[in-house]
């Protein structure tokens, strides 16, 4: 009987840590992320999500402040193709981002603008001309292509898309590989090429914020 009790206790002790370390991928919590309204809010609700457990964000402010020392902080927006924390002029939050553009030099008034955040990106097509209104278009479908692999990006908001962990892993592991997107809009399908500088800066952001430990 004593042996049986001891065995039972041992099993209980062994299973407890395993349960508490059961990590969930953010890929499986996209709906909850949308409902929470922010990654920080989701991490407060579900700390067992891997990105919340291992990566740096508002949920571990000391580490975040240390990470900010490594890169520039800019008001409103940072320069193109450079990883920096930009200070949101409305909320004053300092947000890590890499902003880049893809346009034909012969017609710079139309093209694509892409902003990478750790687990999401904003992408839209812009088209303007002298004296007329600037028109944005948000893809109704976005597919990333890198290293022979294709990733369909879930839509989070108008012009906002989730970056799946598989794509993040690929970017961290091969930051010099060409990355492109196939964007479907009501005007047709477009290929958006991301500069190698922007991809490597995005990889730098992911590594600095410890998203490489999530994988």
């Amino acid at each position: 009987m004593a042996t049986a009790v001891a065995l039972s206790t041992g099993l209980t002790l062994a299973s407890a840590p395993a349960q508490s370390f059961q990590a969930i991928s953010l890929d499986d919590r996209i709906l909850e992320l949308k409902q929470a309204g922010s990654l920080a809010a989701l991490c407060a609700q579900e700390p067992q999500v891997k990105e919340c457990r291992f990566a740096i964000g508002d949920w571990n402010p000391d580490e975040l402040e240390r990470a900010k020392l490594a890169v520039p902080t800019c008001f409103d927006q940072c320069m193109l193709d450079v990883f920096g924390f930009y200070k949101d002029s409305e909320t004053l939050r300092e947000i890590p981002a890499v902003r880049t553009k893809d346009f034909d030099a012969a017609a710079p008034s139309r093209g694509f603008e892409i902003t990478f955040y750790p687990v999401a990106l904003r992408l839209f097509r812009y088209e303007g001309c002298a004296g007329c209104a600037l028109v944005y278009q948000y893809p109704t479908r976005l597919t990333a292509q890198m290293g022979g692999q294709s990733f369909s990006l879930p839509i989070l908001a108008r012009g906002g898309y989730y970056v799946p962990s598989g794509l993040r892993r690929l970017i961290i592991n091969s930051p010099v590989s060409p990355l492109s997107f196939r964007a479907t809009t009501s005007e047709g399908e477009f290929t958006v090429n991301i500069s190698s500088k922007a991809v490597s800066e995005y990889a730098k952001m992911l590594r600095l914020l410890k998203y490489d430990q999530v994988l």
Binding site: A120, G131, A157, Y162, S186
Partner: protein, 231 residues
């Protein structure tokens, strides 16, 4: 000269595009007919200040062109498409969704309308011509702004009072436009400032179809910020 007047008239109408009105607090679904008073129409000399929150669009308009209204009055050229729902981003008043429509006699009178989520604008010009033959033809453009609008609604119709060509959209108006039979042209009647006549004007079937998007039943909600979702 005629062209200049025409250009100014048309530009002015688009300038009063149907972004959320100063008078409209909240959205079409939330405004009752009784409460929706258009402050532009107050005929008194009191100085007033009204604070209105900028409006935002919910998800569901990702397929629309998002027009940044950043061309000011110095650039009257406006090549926005007609009869197509557009998301508008007004630097002053916020986001809205609108469909533009025009009805005209080629080279003659024109009725221009903007059917916005929060506000309808209706105006244009009449072309009166005299002379011809051996005499010199004199054309006169008379701009107008509607102040009463009639909209059919099933077995009844709505009589909407506005002023300066602007009409506040209530939930009742939104429902009437949303439920307008699609697939064929629509009709409205309007009367202009200072006249008693009620002009019948046709609305293109594509505009009627776009009403279903513009006046879709939703309550305003702040959409998630992608930078918050991503970090």
């Amino acid at each position: 000269m005629i062209n200049i007047i025409s250009s100014i008239g048309f530009g002015a109408l688009l300038a009063i595009s149907a972004t959320p009105g100063l008078a409209q607090v909240g959205n079409a679904g939330g405004a009752s007919s009784a409460a929706a008073q258009n402050v532009f129409c107050e005929k008194n000399l009191r100085a007033t200040v009204t604070r209105v929150s900028k409006s935002v669009l919910p998800s569901g308009y990702s397929d629309l062109k998002d027009v940044q209204l950043n061309s000011d009055f110095r650039f009257p050229k406006n090549d926005l498409p007609y009869s197509q729902a557009l998301a508008l981003n007004d630097p002053v008043r916020g986001q809205s969704v609108t469909v533009y429509d025009q009805n005209f006699v080629p080279g003659g009178s024109k009725v221009s309308s903007a059917w916005g989520r929060y506000e309808i604008t209706l105006g244009g010009y009449w072309l009166l011509s005299a002379g011809g033959g051996l005499a010199e033809r004199i054309a006169t453009f008379i701009p107008f702004e509607a102040d009463i609008l009639w909209i059919p609604d099933g077995n009844s119709f709505l009589v909407i009072k506005g002023c300066n060509g602007r009409f506040t959209v209530t939930s009742e108006i939104a429902a009437a436009l949303r439920n307008y039979p699609a697939g064929r042209n629509g009709y409205i009647r309007f009367s202009t400032e200072g006249t008693g006549s009620a002009v019948l004007s046709e609305i293109g079937k594509d505009t009627v179809a776009a009403w279903k998007k513009v006046y879709a039943n939703w309550a305003p909600e702040a959409p998630p910020r992608i930078e918050s979702l991503g970090f």
